[in-house]
Amino acid sequence: MITMEHICKTYRIAKRNAGFAEACKSLFHREYEEIHALSDISFTIGDGEIVGYIGPNGAGKSSTIKILSGILTPDSGSCLVDGHIPWKDRTAYVRGIGVVFGQRSQLWWDVPVIDTFQLLQEIYSIPDALYRNNLEELTDLLDLHELLRTPARQLSLGQRMRCELAASLLHSPKILFLDEPTIGLDAVSKLAVRDFIRKQNEAHGTTVILTTHDMQDIEALAKRIILIGKGHILMDGTLADIQKGGESIDETVAELYRAYDI
């Protein structure tokens, strides 16, 4: 169970005009602008749900994921995930969650993938039997047999993403945060990733929160959509709520972005 109430987060960004003179001036005096990345974000997500968290670039999706995974401390508001406040007692909290940042990598670059997995076993203190069990299941589902012994640097993006997914599920987390897990993937890999997320949710009841720009991801996976724009939640509902007959999902969402002017 995830509840977020009235979460706000502002960033301070140094700004200056173009040019050398301006750059020198900014050495002594900086102008800051406050960017409201999140203003008054509230939602509740139940166990076992798959929620698509969508919005244009810079809407606040990643900030929300960072707060939920305990990396970022909000300025105000409260958030409770399975009884924990993510940014307080971080180390206890993160045991129960899995996170994939599509644009980053958690695999050790120069060593075979299986070495990273073994390190994760130690880091999360996963009992041997559970680790073997999970590894076997994930290897089968994500077709990792050939990849485990390959150094991460030699994997293609699609192969790497499958390994990233496995890495974040080795400790059987109840909640999975996926920040753009299909970014840059080819059609086959995308389908494999979607299929895997759905199966994981069905088999283990894992709660999944997914940000993406690929509306097919949403169509394939998420029963519920939360739309965020300029730091505000604009819509919280199902795909059927917003889709008019005959429209493709991309058109629907583009329409929505235009309607909210985001």
Partner: protein, 267 residues
């Protein structure tokens, strides 16, 4: 504890992979060591009595320093950690049930150990067979040797504890380059990496010996080469322990602050 050992193991194994880097490093260290000894020889020929250490002791100091360079050089910091801080990959480390400070500490020691393991033996072997006074000489006695091992261990911990402070500071800057360059020059000078500390004028040297930088390579290398009296050795070990504890506490404080206010850059 098991977690940190696992971390150490993986980083150590990873370090052993870079064979050509080790070979290149070894060649550099031979050339550098030989050059330094030749320069010192020229000075000693002018007036051997004017120097605080015998040429033999200086040669031992230099060869030990080159053999264990990976332990002692503060500027061998881990680019991967700076990159992780800079480009935001640290996000992954922040969502692990583990203390980042401890994890990175274990990792840094492993990195340095694997580098040293690959390089020290050939350098020590060759230096041992060089003719006197240009080669490495055996330590004065067993007690000196054991004390050398102990202080080298403390010295490595001190080096890593210092690097951890630099990593911690990197959380608060946009680019870590400035920090690296600043600490590169400071530590090269104050640790005795370029010129052993006894060669500095007395008032300066006395001050330098109290600094944390003197707790790194200065103590073990001078104990090995036999240029410290018994009382000097014991106060030096005391200072090493003091600085080690102080730097670890400060580093942890810095990391605690950094983790709270970290803004992970990028989408």
């Amino acid at each position: 504890m098991k977690k940190y050992i696992a971390f150490f193991r993986l980083r150590f194994a990873m370090g052993l992979q870079y064979r050509s880097a080790a070979l290149a490093g070894m060649v550099t260290q031979f050339v550098w060591g030989a050059m330094e000894i030749l320069v010192f020889r020229a000075f000693y020929e002018a007036d051997a009595a004017a120097f605080p250490m015998s040429l033999e002791a200086t040669a031992s100091y230099i060869w030990m320093q080159q053999a264990f360079l990976a332990f002692f050089m503060v500027y061998f910091m881990e680019n991967e950690l700076f990159d992780a801080i800079k480009d935001g990959n640290v996000a992954y480390e922040l969502c692990r049930p583990i203390r980042i400070y401890d994890m990175w500490f274990a990792r840094s020691i492993a990195n340095r150990s694997s580098r040293a393991a690959l390089r020290c033996i050939p350098i020590l072997l060759v230096a041992a067979f060089l003719p006197k006074p240009y080669g490495i000489s055996a330590p004065a006695d067993l007690q000196h040797f054991l004390l050398f091992l102990l202080t080298m261990f403390l010295g490595v911990l001190a080096v890593v504890a210092f690097c951890m402070i630099v990593y911690g500071l990197a959380f608060f800057t946009i680019s870590p380059e400035g920090l690296r360059i600043f600490f590169y020059s400071v530590t090269e000078f104050f640790t005795g990496a370029v010129i052993p500390l006894p060669f500095f004028p007395d008032p300066v040297r006395r001050m330098m010996e109290y600094l944390p930088f003197a707790a790194m390579q200065n103590v073990p290398l001078r104990i090995y080469s036999g240029s410290m009296t018994d009382s000097e050795m014991f106060s030096a070990v005391g200072l090493q322990v003091f600085w080690l504890v102080a730097m670890i506490l400060f580093g942890r404080l810095l990391f605690a602050r950094a983790e709270r206010r970290a803004v992970v850059q990028g989408g």
